[in-house]
């Protein structure tokens, strides 16, 4: 069985088990939270003893300064800043210094920060997919000794956070915990319900064939209305679109993710089908598609020039009336699947989280900070409220349930997580490989290469990197 299948099955099994547990808690929590969020409109937090959970404690003896590096803006810096006042309430003598920088360069910058072995950085808030690279350079502190001091909290974290984004080495439930993943995301299917209804389409497309029909039906460039958009910028972005589609056709990156394996498997029928379908969708693409990241896609969907994004990273902004012209018309669902027997809904999943630097001189304080950031209702429901209010997108299933009423795309995330696969294989080379794959995808879209040549080049490029890394001779 491949690593992906393993990961997928573990996530699914745990999610099913969790569903029942959560549904019991939900009854009380959602009612309380809904009432709270409805009355305060997420605009203010009510400090009362009722908000505190079993994980609440304070410590004014613990001292120190925690410096955290993080990408600036939504889902990164802002939720951290949002929950910081409560942390200060709990740990008045720990100073948290949030150093936010531009997100575009953060993958390389954070890697350089980690390899510098500097004690100036106590916590790094980064993409979950990058963690194997940090682990490979011994930059991550083993969190088990810290987590085991509070078994109640640890148990709550483990049960509430999908295994698909928990970072353990080795990657199984018994592996050692090296990072906390408070944020979760998945590729979602965004569509305009109003336009689909007007076009006589009353069912959300299940397969790529159906998605193509919708893209064609909604495509009307004369009215500046484009039937397809995705994040197809050269490099990783294009690579992850392709990987998402390949996964939906039952494809994999490697023959197996274990010794004796790691041979790329893009050049086959599944790879061909995925690229062919992507090319068909590209006929209806919005003008910005080829150079688009999430910003460009979201802007085009929000202003109505793009009306269909069947494989797009989850975001709250499209259903936010302050940003989108169509907050009530944009629906979310699972990304389509292929039409073949091996096809399935397999959205890509990622997450953002924090690890404590192995070179930190304030590890205890750093741990308390990231633990607080990942606590949610177990410690104090004000943490969850502040997290969501400040653009957080939780990985915790309980929080997705609790805030679904005010963040409609959480429903899509909740549906996606149990069937999702990681957006990169959990190996240090993942981003280098994503870039190679994405560049080949782009060469097909721009007509520089045929699908066959691009798939061959993907296999060759990926194999070269894996060989250099010593996976095989």
């Amino acid at each position: 069985m491949s690593g992906w299948d393993d990961l997928y099955k573990r996530t699914m099994a745990e999610s099913k088990a969790m569903k029942e547990k959560i549904s019991r808690r939900q009854m009380m929590k959602i009612m309380a939270a809904t009432a709270t969020t409805a009355t305060v409109g997420m605009g203010s937090r009510i400090a009362s003893a009722d908000t505190k959970g079993p994980g609440w404690y304070t410590d004014d003896k613990m001292k120190g300064k925690v410096t955290m590096f993080v990408s600036a803006g939504q889902r990164w810096e802002l939720p951290a800043r949002g929950v910081l006042p409560l942390f200060n309430e709990r740990f008045p003598n720990i100073e948290v210094d949030i150093q936010a920088g531009p997100h575009g360069e953060m993958v390389t910058k954070s890697m350089m920060l980690a390899t510098s072995k500097s004690s100036a950085m106590d916590v790094l808030y980064t993409d979950f997919g990058q963690w194997p690279a940090f682990h490979a350079v011994n930059a991550m502190e083993d969190l088990e000794p810290f987590a085991s001091k509070d078994p109640g909290w640890y148990d709550d974290y483990n049960k509430d956070t999908p295994t698909g984004v928990q970072y353990r080495v080795p990657a199984n439930a018994d592996g050692t915990l090296y990072g906390l993943t408070g944020d979760g995301n998945a590729k979602l299917h965004f569509y305009r319900q109003d336009l689909m209804h007007a076009a006589g389409i009353h069912k959300v497309p299940e397969t790529w064939e159906e998605a193509l029909e919708v893209a064609e039906a909604l495509h009307n460039p004369d009215k500046d209305q484009y039937g397809f958009i995705t994040t197809a910028r050269r490099g990783g972005f294009a690579g992850w679109v392709f990987w998402g589609m390949l996964a939906s056709y039952g494809g994999e990156w490697f023959d197996k993710q274990a010794e004796g394996g790691w041979h790329p498997t893009f050049n086959n029928d599944k790879g061909y089908k995925a690229l062919e379908t992507l090319m068909k969708l590209m006929k209806f693409r919005h003008p910005v598609t080829l150079n688009a990241t999430d910003n460009e896609c979201n802007t085009a969907l929000a202003n109505g020039s793009a009306v269909y994004a069947p494989i797009q990273w989850g975001t709250a902004v499209l259903q936010n009336p302050e940003f989108s012209k169509f907050p009530n018309d944009i629906g979310t669902d699972l990304v389509p699947r292929g039409e073949t027997a091996e096809s399935a809904h397999r959205p890509l999943m990622g997450g953002l989280g924090q690890y404590v630097s192995a070179y930190s001189e304030n590890k205890e304080a750093a741990w308390e900070w990231i633990k607080h950031l990942n606590s949610g209702d177990y410690t104090d429901s004000r943490i969850s409220d502040a997290y969501i209010e400040h653009t957080g997108q939780p990985a915790r299933i309980s929080m997705l349930n609790k805030y679904e009423n005010i963040r409609p795309h959480f429903a899509g995330l909740k549906k996606s997580f149990p069937v999702a696969v990681s957006f990169v294989p959990l190996i240090p080379e993942a981003f280098t490989l994503s870039d190679i794959i994405g560049n080949e995808v782009t060469s097909v879209i721009t007509g520089e290469k045929s699908i066959d040549d691009a798939l061959k080049a993907m296999d060759k490029g990926v194999e070269g990197v894996m060989m250099d890394s010593g996976y095989y001779g």
Partner: protein, 302 residues
Amino acid sequence: MTHKSILRLSEGRIALFLVLPTLIILIGLAIFPLGWAGALAFRVENLFRPDIGKWVGFRNFKYLLTEDTFWKSIRLTLVWCVCVVSIQMALGFLFAMMLDTRARIVGVLRTLIVIPVFISPIAMGLTWQFMFEPVTGVINYCLELLGLPGGTWHTSTDTALMAVMIADIWQWTPFVTLILLAGMQGISPEVIEAARLDKVRGWKYITKIVIPLIWPVVMVVLLLRLVDSIRIFDLVYIITRGGPGTATLVASVYDFTIFQAGRIGVMAAYGFLILIVINLVVILFLRLLYRQEKEARIVQKA
């Protein structure tokens, strides 16, 4: 040892002492990094796997030389340089001629025209990006008002390079204008008067009087713009990130994307190849210009 030789020795030591700070800075900030980059070019180095570095000989160079994208980036850089610099020079010269009068308005215009040069490339790149936006951008909106069809600008592989060129030309033409204008205003009034009395006007005045007299200034501004254009990064990166596809993947942007993918060895090899290729082009170009200048001087003397 004679008094003279002692003095010479101490002079030498003093000289060495005075030069030493510069030498250390030069070695630390230029020679060592260049040498280090040279060494990296022959190694497999992955930013995400610092533990796997190894010597691989010329493999990184071979990889690049067989990559279509490498050659495309070289081609794009050359096209960029030729188009952008020649248009900036032509327009700059035209505007300088127009401004080379004694009218009062010229002072105001000179101040206004210089504004684009002072705008941060990041702010300017973002502004142009928004203006170029095909569906919501102001440029297509204006074209539609005039009954003209809108363009795809920076979003299409066919027009993206041209769109970024427009932004660059808009920013740097005023610089060329100002320098050339300064050169023109340095032409002796007697020469201009003599030309007027000899009825040397129009094209003849430009080619026989103005250009030969400001030729050294033209050379300087041409070289400055050429070097700046070869290393163009900020504007392209902000507007298109080298895309769509590889449509604007000029040398420095391509090199940066290799770095972002963590391929340090390949990046270093690319840097060296670019250094060689671009230097060859610059040397050839400068030789050509020097020859032209020499010929012009001979004609002038005759």
